[in-house]
């Protein structure tokens, strides 16, 4: 029997196991929406902006480990989703985005709502397809899912012209895919793995540096075994949080620009860095020429281009983290003995010393303004038994969430790392909630970034996605303000948000629940109230506006040269100047 392109599209999605589609309609995709409307297998979540659809698909993908799928229209629909595609490309998120296109006969004619979707998305997708013939549609969709989810995952765009969605063709779904130019390497080179095992046995000051690749590969168990067997401390990247239990005694927490003191010191002074599924981003390396000056480097990554891109590697292993670690563990299991523990005792003594010297600190006064760290810490303590999924936007609140919310498992952490996309958190949380309707999904946001995709609150209410948003409201683009205080002599160029909206009323206007924490003593009660609500909630927490995030390695600085607190001149300035206290802000908001 012949099916229309739109029907073929739906049949393909079903065969790929897609249950949820994040979508926003438009002229050229109406046939697809009309067909979707007449079936029940795939739930369509109507977003209010295509960027939201893209981030929701990302959140869905990060939480489930499967490809997230979104559907947008031509022209502005496509340009709006670009940010999400670029974000997914940087953070290796498996995403399949379908875009509508004007009919093939009009392509290139500057038709209404026409855009060069292939050209626009080329630099921010792993691959993209323009389907010119309905007979190619099924095979193309199969290839799209294959490319998005294999190797180093990433976003793939399939551009479907209107006439292709309407034309009919015989439907057959291919069982397998073979692309001659695309053969990701999964098995690591055995000889190299043996070299790595030898280096690990000999190292006196080894450190594991693990990233998001461990999560995508599902290698958390193997990583845990490796770390425990060899007693090697574990540094996690921002993207890697959760791949190793945050409260494990071997966990050093996050490394990098706002990483913990011990994580960065251990990196700097180690004699063997074992990088697994991480890519030596500049927020991790700091000054490349002085990065890990004493270390040999082992680098396990599925993407050969990641290896030796930023720093020199002594033992490169191209392969899947899970497969490689499994093999590495096998060799080590046979050779590890008590000797390593003695060999590394001085190393661990040193690390414990670092941990005690400069733990993460903040000072919360009983009746003083609320400190943002306190909010994250309490939120963590109140929810950790419920195994929540946590999303963040980008900025100070993101770094505090990374420092204080100690995740135990992978696929719990939704954050925008590479691209640093403000506005990512809320829709990503909704995507995860759509995948797991009964789980607790938290979104830790800032008052600046939440406003970048605020419109999706309508989606959350209508589609019944009860995400809990906690806004650390400091009235600033906080990270920008921090840099201005540290590097631009305190000139707050366009970082002061001035009058922010009343988030409580805003939530209520959408039909969600709005709560505000007025003083630190109320924090627990209000958070508990929010957590007990079965609707989307905004908890507005006015926090101390001038809190800075430490430790901090200034951009281009060395990993062992961290700022640990406000420099004296900045402290003096903060004490002496007139400040807006949270109480004042509250009066402004409720007046």
């Amino acid at each position: 029997m012949k099916l229309t392109g739109a029907e073929i599209f739906i049949e393909c999605l079903k065969r790929e196991g897609v249950k949820t589609l994040f979508a926003l309609p438009g002229g050229v995709v109406l046939k697809i929406f009309d067909t979707l409307h007449q079936q029940k297998d795939i739930e369509v979540i109507l977003t209010r902006h295509e960027q939201g659809a893209g981030h929701m698909a990302e959140g869905y993908a990060k939480a489930t480990g499967k490809a997230g799928v979104c559907l947008v229209t031509s022209g502005p629909g496509m340009t709006n989703v670009i940010t999400a595609l670029a974000d997914a490309y940087m953070d290796s998120v498996p995403l399949v985005c379908f875009s509508g296109q004007v009919p093939t006969s009009l392509i290139g004619n500057d038709a209404f709502q026409e855009a060069d979707n292939i050209g626009l998305s080329r630099p921010c997708t792993k691959y993209n397809f323009l389907v010119k013939d309905v007979n190619d549609l099924a095979a193309t969709i199969k290839e799209a899912f294959y490319i998005a989810t294999t190797g180093r995952p990433g976003p793939v765009l399939v551009d479907i012209p209107k006439d292709v969605s309407m034309a009919k063709a015989e439907f057959t779904y291919p069982n397998s895919v073979s692309i001659r130019g695309y053969n990701p390497t999964y098995e690591g080179n055995k000889w190299q793995i043996k070299q790595a095992a030898e280096a690990i046995m000999k190292a006196k000051k080894p450190i594991l540096y693990v990233g998001g690749g461990v999560g995508f590969s599902g290698a958390s168990q193997e990583l845990l075994e490796l770390a425990e067997m060899t007693q090697i401390p574990v540094d996690m990247t921002l993207m890697g949080l959760g791949v190793f239990p945050g409260e494990h005694p071997l966990s050093m927490g996050m490394l990098g620009m706002h990483g913990t003191y011990e994580a960065n010191m251990a990196m700097h002074y180690s004699d063997l860095v074992i990088a697994v599924g991480a890519r030596f981003d500049d927020r991790v390396t700091g000054k490349v020429s002085e990065f890990c000056p004493y270390a040999k480097v082992i680098h396990v990554d599925i993407d050969p281009t990641s290896i030796r891109k930023n720093i020199n590697v002594d033992i490169p292993i191209v392969g899947d983290c899970k497969t490689v670690l499994r093999e590495l563990n096998q060799i080590l299991r046979a050779t590890v003995n008590g000797e390593q523990k003695d060999l590394r005792k001085p190393w661990w003594d040193q690390i414990r010393e670092w941990q005690q010297a400069h733990p993460l600190v903040y000072h919360q006064e009983q009746d003083g303004p609320i400190k943002p760290q306190q909010v994250v810490k309490r939120l963590y303590e109140l929810t950790k038994d419920r195994d929540p999924i946590v999303s963040t936007d980008v900025g100070q609140h993101q770094m505090w969430a990374a420092q204080y919310f100690k995740l135990g498992k992978p696929n719990r952490w939704l954050t925008s790392g590479g691209l640093g996309t403000m506005g990512f958190g809320f829709p990503a949380a909704m995507g995860a909630q759509a995948a797991f309707r009964n789980r607790l999904v938290l979104c830790i946001a800032g008052d600046g970034s939440i406003q970048m995709n605020m419109q999706e609150m309508a989606t959350a209410v209508v589609s019944k996605l009860p995400v809990k948003i906690i806004i650390l409201n400091n009235g600033f683009h906080g990270m920008v303000r921090q840099w201005q205080d540290l590097f631009y002599e305190g000139r707050y160029a366009s970082s002061n948000l001035g009058t922010t909206p009343d988030f409580v009323k805003l939530a209520e206007a959408y039909g969600a629940v709005g709560l505000r924490v007025k003083k630190v003593g109320d924090l627990d009660a209000i958070l508990k109230e929010a957590l007990a609500t079965d609707k989307p909630v905004i908890v507005d927490v006015p926090t101390y506006p001038y809190e800075n995030c430490y430790p901090m390695i200034p951009a281009g600085g060395c990993n062992h040269e961290m700022l640990l607190e406000d420099p004296p001149e900045l402290k003096k300035k903060q004490v002496g100047s007139e400040k807006v206290t949270p109480e004042d802000k509250d009066t402004v908001l409720t007046a």
């Binding site: 190299q192 050969p304 030796r308």
Partner: protein, 172 residues
Amino acid sequence: MEHIISVTVENKFGVLSRVAGLFSGRGFNIESLSVAPTLDPSMSQMTIVTSGDERIIEQIVKQLNKLIDVIKVVDLNETEFVSRETAIIKVHTKDADRAEALRIVDIFRANVIDSTPSTYTIEVSGDPKKIEAIINLLQPLGIKDLVRTGRVAVAREPVRPVAAQAKKVARD
């Protein structure tokens, strides 16, 4: 250092822009690029002349390999290769100069492929130095038009493919 990279790609629309976009997006140099179908019409052969230090060339090769439409990448500098470029040069030839132009054509084993009373169109093939040399000699006569193909190159047998070399990197 200058490298000549031979890239076998899928012969379909958009592939050239993926390769060109990779070079521009990552700030790699392209000195010349030539592309045409191979014996198998489903594939095209690109010859890219680029430059950079060892790290950059390694990245270029890896990044090209990562492109899904790229089937094979060979850094010809890893081995012995032969390369050629063709130039077509249209020169003004006053009566007094016509014999001189022909002499130059003869010296360089070039050909006159078109002629009018006031011009010769000359075709010359060779390595870039030879082409530079003939241009220098023809310049005093007055060059009206100059087009160059960019270099094409092929490895001398036997060749070590870069696909195998990537694995060798892993063994180092």
